[in-house]
Every structure is written in C-alpha cells, then in structure tokens.
Symmetry: C2
Subunit: 161 residues, 2 copies
Amino acid sequence: MLSSRFPVAVQILIILDWCPDNVKITSELISTSVNTNPVIIRRIMAYLKKHQLIATASSSEGAKLLKSPEDISLLDVYNAVELTEENQLFALHENTNPHCPIGSRINEVLTLPLYEARLALEDSLARISIADLTDEFIAFGDFVNSADYKAIEKLFPTLQN
Amino acid sequence: MLSSRFPVAVQILIILDWCPDNVKITSELISTSVNTNPVIIRRIMAYLKKHQLIATASSSEGAKLLKSPEDISLLDVYNAVELTEENQLFALHENTNPHCPIGSRINEVLTLPLYEARLALEDSLARISIADLTDEFIAFGDFVNSADYKAIEKLFPTLQN
DNA sequence: ATTACTGAAACCAGATTGGTTACAGAGGCT
DNA sequence: AGCCTCTGTAACCAATCTGGTTTCAGTAAT
C-alpha cells in the first residue's frame, strides 16, 4: 500500500485553491485541517515546491499555488510526492539466477506489462484536477457566512489578515 | 513502491506452467531460479495456495497449478499477494479535522478518483495471463536439448524424477 | 524407518512511515 | 535596531514492513 503523503498533498493543494488570496495559509493552518504535526505538512510541501506546484514564504503571505488549479492533475501530485528516485510503482526482485532460462529473463519479460499497468493508473490520475476536487466542497464564502464558522473560528487563527 | 512479492509470485507461476508435469517442483528449485531463500518462496506460495491458484504437497509430486495458466491473470496474482486486509492501493490520512470543511470531507471526495485509478491498474493487469508470459520464454524441451543445459544441470537437482 | 519436503515459528537487519522536538535563519513589522 | 512569525532542517523516535535466515515439527512417499 502506498503512503498517505499523496492524499495529504492533495488536501494541501485543495486548501490553497479553496481559500481566497487574502488568507495567509501556513503549515500550521493546514496541519489543523489534516490533523497532524506542522512539520509533516512542511515536509510534503517541500516536495510540492521542488516540483514547482507551490511557492512558500518565510513569513508574510503564506503559501500560494504556482499553477492554475485546473492545470494541476492528481498525477502531477502523485509524481511529486510518491515517486522514488527509481521512478517505479512495482519493485522487481534483483539478482535472479542468470543461468536459469526463466530467472535470467523474468524482469525483462515483466517490464512491459507492469509499465502498461502503471500507465493505466497514471492516465486515470491525469484526468482529475485539483480544481475538479475543490468544486466538491462548500465555497469558502458560504463557509464564512455559515453558522458553523463562528464555532470553529479559532481553528483558523490566521484566516483573516 | 510495492513489494517484490508480486513479481516473485509471477515467476513461481511461470515456472509451474513452464515445466512439464513430470518435473518435481520444490520451493528449493524455485528459490534457485529467483536466487533467494526457499522459505521466501514458501511464504509467497502460501498466499497463492490460500487463493486457490496452486496446490503443494509435503513431499512427492511438488507443486502444481490449480487453474489453466490462460485463466490466471496478473490481477489474480496481484490480488493474492499484494492486497492487504484493508484491500486498497492508496492509503488515506485518518482522523482529519471534522470541524474543517475540507478535512471533514476530503476522504469522501478522494475515494472515487482513487478507486477509478486503482480500477484502471487492475483492468490492465487483468488483460495479461501467466500463459501469455510463459510464451515469452524458450520452451522447456528446447532448453533441455540446448548446450546450456548440461552446464547448469546441477542447478535443477530435482528436475528429472 | 528413512528420506524429502512443507509449513510455521522465531528472530534479524534495514528501510520506510508518521510523528515529535528543537533550532537556525529568512523576512516582515514597529 | 529589535521583535515576531513562520519556514526549512536536522535529529530522534516507535511502529511497521520487507527480505532473509535458522530451526524444527509434521507429513507423505519409498
């Protein structure tokens, strides 16, 4: 099973898309939504930053999206946080027996079917954007005007600046 | 990245398909092809056995396929060895903040896109059978008659019975 | 009975994960 | 200038997973 870095990264990007520009979004605000430690959020944001999906600032304005949310697909996020340096979904068993007709060629034979399966996964992820997902939530303006907001205002301490 | 149980399981099934019925296939023979410890092979074979893909015997005849190799897909193998009890590819971050409009619904919103991506992966794996892969290797008969065979005969100590 | 193999337990080292504390440094603000 | 907030890292931790190994009881064929 893959790590939860991917869904958390998606949640980070949705929050950046969902909040108006004048809201200062810090790792602590996001960590309150995810319900984890701010350092966890910063670590994942470092991946997103490295892949040019977001920009962060040492104080001041908080994090911002670097691309239009319509142009950030789930595949972009997946690639940013889940792909290792080996750049593969399926591991292969290394050092199979070179003297065995099966062992000597198994990895070569498996490569294409496993690559195609990975492509199918990636194609599916590529079809959904952050904007698509943000649409599934209540609008920020409606949230602020809702009766709920007052009760949980303290959870968004930096919401208004 | 997923574990190498899956490719090793595929290799086990290919060997069972590839070898003629009169060859006694033990965990040690397979471990020689994979180049690992026989216990590793037995552990993976236990998954395959639990999912009714193979039968094993305490001595005597060795392991056998329980289904025609055309009817064993890579998805069957993947499901047998890689799926956990939670039965999912992507993890979600649990205990997100129920008071946050995003956190309270993020997992619900992510479920469908992640499920579809997983389905795409599985559909792709379902299209390839063990028989398809076995076809990619030299036939057992040709191997036995080849010049190579004599040199590595000792690696298949139980080959002829 | 001997032999050969399976199945399972126990243990191990290394890697990964999510979590935490701590702190240097960047960059606003007064 | 000093203060304040937040980022980016490092260091550390416990839990889990993985592949590997040794050991051994049980099973089945000869």
